[in-house]
């Protein structure tokens, strides 16, 4: 598309480099930094111009592969902040300065949020218990490591195909001395009886109180529900997004770039056979017990309340 402006492609490049340079910070913080960077670099002299720059940068970031779902909402937050500060600020430079300060603060709190979540979520892990998880979430790992400081428990991690990033979680926990068992995604129901709780991260927490996360989260939640085990989510509040899907079909389509696990070593599928590998799914709020966030421990219905406060 020729309409992609220079500033927008610059924002996308900044995002990729921030992510590469500080992988611990995670994509949310990188996105906030990239948006702040685009304000710094913009030559806009009006509020409308600045909002436009942000929207373009946001659109460029969302079109990136594996970009978090919450970018559009983050962008919206920035724009709302502009219109709100516009009344208080003296002149345009003042708004710009406030906005950059706000962006930097937001990026910092995203990283600090994780230790806060770890602190409030850790007491939910039972001593001697078993925690089931999947995928790789920095929040979940931080929470489990914080809990491991004071009590003994073990973790079961599902491999989480198509990306298979459950391996990253398992490695990090094992290195810290937490007993970890790795199971295949198909074995989630098999191990469920052994677990005391299920804990997952989130790519985005939605208006409904449901979450978008790695494929397999939905089925894990359903199995947990069937076995009457609590299903918890750990997520930063910067991932809250004003989306409200009614079903899986309402999600923007997103496929993993990885080769389909089932076809490794078998060659590409012959024509009438289709290999689908969705990378994320939507878990409705009725399967989620609680969410551990930097705003506190929330019920799914409280997410929408927070979003209304944030965006109103």
């Amino acid at each position: 598309m020729p309409a992609v402006s220079k500033a927008a492609s610059k924002a996308a490049a900044a995002y990729t480099s921030f992510l590469a340079e500080d992988p611990v910070a995670g994509p949310s913080a990188a996105a906030i930094k990239a948006l702040t960077e685009s304000i710094k670099g913009s030559s806009a002299t009006t509020i409308m111009g600045l909002s436009e720059v942000l929207r373009e940068a946001g659109a460029a970031l969302s079109s990136l592969r594996d970009a978090p779902m919450s970018i559009a909402s983050l962008c919206e937050l920035f724009v709302r902040f502009i219109t709100r500060t516009a009344l208080e600020a003296r002149d345009f430079d003042d708004i710009r300065r406030l906005l950059i300060e706000r962006g930097e603060m937001l990026a910092r709190t995203t990283i600090e949020a994780r230790s806060k979540i770890a602190k409030i979520g850790a007491p939910f892990v039972d001593a001697g218990g078993v925690v089931l998880t999947l995928g790789y979430s920095r929040c979940v790992v931080a929470l489990l490591l914080a809990a491991a400081k004071t009590k003994h428990f073990s973790v079961i991690v599902a491999e989480s195909h198509p990306q298979g990033d459950g391996h990253t979680t398992a490695q990090q926990l094992a290195q810290a001395g937490v007993p970890v068992t790795m199971v295949e995604d198909a074995a989630v129901a098999y191990v469920m009886t052994r677990c005391q709780m299920v804990l997952c991260g989130a790519e985005a927490v939605l208006e409904s109180g449901g979450v978008i996360n790695k494929t397999g989260t939905y089925q894990m939640a359903i199995v947990a529900h069937a076995f009457k085990k609590p299903f918890y989510i750990a997520s930063e509040s910067t991932k809250f997004a004003r989306l409200f899907p009614l079903s899986q079909n309402d999600l923007p389509e997103h496929e993993s770039a990885r080769e389909h696990a089932a076809f490794v070593g078998r060659g590409p599928p012959p024509p009438p056979l289709i290999a689908e590998k969705p990378s994320r799914d939507y878990t409705p709020p009725n399967y989620v017990q609680l969410l551990f966030t930097d705003l506190g421990v929330l019920t799914p219905s409280a997410v929408s309340d927070e979003l209304i406060k944030l965006f109103d």
């Binding site: 409904s208 109180g209 409200f244 009614l246 709020p285 929408s304 209304i308």
Partner: protein, 412 residues
Amino acid sequence: MQHDDKKSVAKLQKQQVAKRTPTQKEVPLFAHLPQYEKDTGLSAAAVAKGSIHPAVLRLGLQMAEGIISGSNARVVGMLRAFQQVISDFEPPPAKVFSRELDACLKLQIQYLVDCRPQSMAMGNGIKWIKNKVTVAPPHLPDEKVKEMLVESIDQFIAEKIHIADEAIIANAMSRIAPGDVVLVYAASYVVERVLLHAYQSGVTFRILVADAGPKFEGRDLMARLLAAGLRCTYVNLHALSYTMPEVTKLLLGASSMLLNGTLVARAGTALVCMLAHSHGVPALVCCETYKFAERVLLDSICFNELGDPDELIPPPLRPATGVAGSAPATAPAPTAPPAAPAAGGGVTTASAGGGGTGSVADWRDIPRLKLLNLLYDATPMKYLTMVVTEVGVIPPTSVPAVIREASAREGV
């Protein structure tokens, strides 16, 4: 107000502008509600009293006759009438303007309530206008205050209803996907516009219009949708479970949404929602935030409205505009067409002739027969999926959050 309490009924009768005929046959469980009895002389007493504005007089009759119905239409009608009351209001000399106007409005409201019990949305509108009148700056000249009030009513109607509806339509329209089968129940103005807009935007979908007596409001809706070129299926409430498996979304209008996420809407809505819930069909409610009421209901009994019991009688058997208390002992013998009993949904007994004993048409003369025509019901929150409002799509659990934010903003 409990209408089965003698003391408060006596008090109410003193306040009433238009006296209502007391009902002869009330259903015990619903005796606490304002009882319906058809009155032809509603305006006579009010006119005699002389303090009711002609615009309000007309509106009251239109509401009583059902010419103006639908929660938005009633609120807009009421506010427009109040605009005229305010601009024509001349306070007695040496009196505080806002206090006199408040007393005048109170009388107008009483008359409207006498004509037809107010809806919760109207209650919200009344609360809002009363607040506007009391906070009107006392140092301004009367004409200025009148102008301000008239203007703020214009603004309320534009912002809270018209612009809000546009936003709701845009929000709800995007939820209709190609290939959807959308279930609607009875008739709602906003829902109808959502469907029409979605169709005009080129989405191919089908509509299932569920309907029920006594009003059969879905028939008019379906006629309008068909005229616009949409594909419709019409089904009565009793056959809904048969058609439910093909439905993908349920789209509803609302009379009101309550603090505990309960939906108050046309009687039968709760049934439709529960059926949808049991089939895993998401239920979407379109509701402007001004209809969010700060109260809680657990059932449809404590608050409801009783409609005309004669509506339950199949049309061919109905007494010709029977005035209360003078239901003819021998109803005009109808030449009962063979299809007549079917139209009544099976309430008639074997003797379809109006004069015979055991016919519903003679219910006033049959000691053990009472008719109950409830207009609304309450749907618990757990059967609803989302509420489409002008401030965005929210889960029903967030209704209190929206009310809180709105009142916080009003307070500032």
